[in-house]
Amino acid sequence: METGTKNETTFDQVAQDEILVAITHLKKSFGNNHVLKDFNLTVKRGESVAILGKSGSGKSVLIKCMIGLLEPDEGKISIFKKNIPDLQHEELDRLRAKIGFLFQSNALYDSMTVRENLLFPLRRHWIKTTREEEENMILEALNNVGLANTINMMPNELSGGMRKRIALARTLILKPEIILYDEPTTGLDPITAKEISTLMVEIQEKYGTTSLIISHDLNCIKITADRMVILINGICYAVGTFDELKESTDIKINQFFE
């Protein structure tokens, strides 16, 4: 386990080509509220990293900076060796096709059926497919989450857990190399939350995706994450496995496990 402001594994510790995500000296403020002060993180290919922090600690801000929805004030966010804040719209869109994002609120389009929701990213990213291929991709994504029977349903006809699964299927349709999960189990009952966590692990094993999970849910983190990062005061305060951090004597880390 590593703690302190030095935070995170340095580049020379892992082979450069294995690093998919490298965040260095990231800063983001909203007025006088300095959310991210000097955040550093590297994520290797195939790794599953969870970020734990209090509400308002900047976890969602971090993940939105990573996908280009927010612009950082300073620092670099290198994904696939490209600095996200420097990318033009078209280049960013091309990169986004390789990055899946599961929103906290699922963000399913209310006016579209499940099929249309899944088709949307497929068509918007200019991926050339025949109708038959599209249908197969939709069915594969839905089968992955066990909800092929909901293909013609509207989002408002689905339960909270089903909506989360459909959102995950929409994320999966482009077969992304990295999936960013923003609070994937928030608002779900413990049983459904466990099902979603297990599903995340299955998907990672099946497609070899790299995952970055923002969560408060320790059970979810325990099931899904290889490594945990604790975000306190805008910096990466501690890094380690779930068990390592749980055994920590640091009061600031301990409060998350109480």
């Binding site: 939105k64 929805l69 994002f101 929103f103 963000a107 389009y109 209310d110 949307f120 990213p121 918007r124």
Partner: protein, 256 residues
Amino acid sequence: MQVPKAFNHFFEETGKVTKFTSRFFTSGLKPRYEFKEFLRQCFVIGYKSLPLIGLTAFIMGLVLTMQLRPTMVDYGVESQIPDMVSIAVIREIGPILCALIFAGKIGSSIGAEIGSMRVTEQIDAMEVSGTNPYKYLVVTRVAAATLMLPVLTLISDAISLYGSYVGVNIYAITSFRLFFLQVFYALSFPDIIPAFIKTFFFGFAVGMIGCYMGYNSSKGTEGVGRSANAAVVASSVLIFIIDLIAVQITEVLGIN
């Protein structure tokens, strides 16, 4: 001198609306064009508003005729009812009434729809999916509102005049041909063209304000409600301001 807070807020908001609107003419008109969504919006905004606007236009034409009739009879100019109604409807009442109903129906629905999409992160999801949400949501809706309101106004004017014809026939039998001949004799291009042109601006204002309010909706369902409400209020006021400006312009140009 300290500038009052309300003034500050007003100018700040005006600046934001202007910036938001300018995007329509810069990035919004460049490819990639969202034709499919634009056509869908034309259907939703235009076709689905038709029953409400048609009904109100018919009632307005009928009631206007019934209210005018006693005074016209007193002055002995009952036969001039079609002339008076047609000029009033085509020049002013038709476009304004149609635009206000349009603002109530479409402005609020755009504000609420885009507002709820903002709150539920659907706009962010769109951006992540490689879609420019401004083009997909705002440009299509504003363009559809700008094009559909003039069409709806033309239809509602025609329905209003038919309502007036029905109103005239409640008291005395008048032929359809005679009524509409008199209507067209009374009208000239300066009555129709400026009134028609201003409806494009009304439509643009309703679409843009609805989209702005929704796009900048604050978190939560309360914010969505507030956006829908603000969209109707702001666009209704703007319609009157545009109307006032349009009248001044036609006066200056001497086409009144």
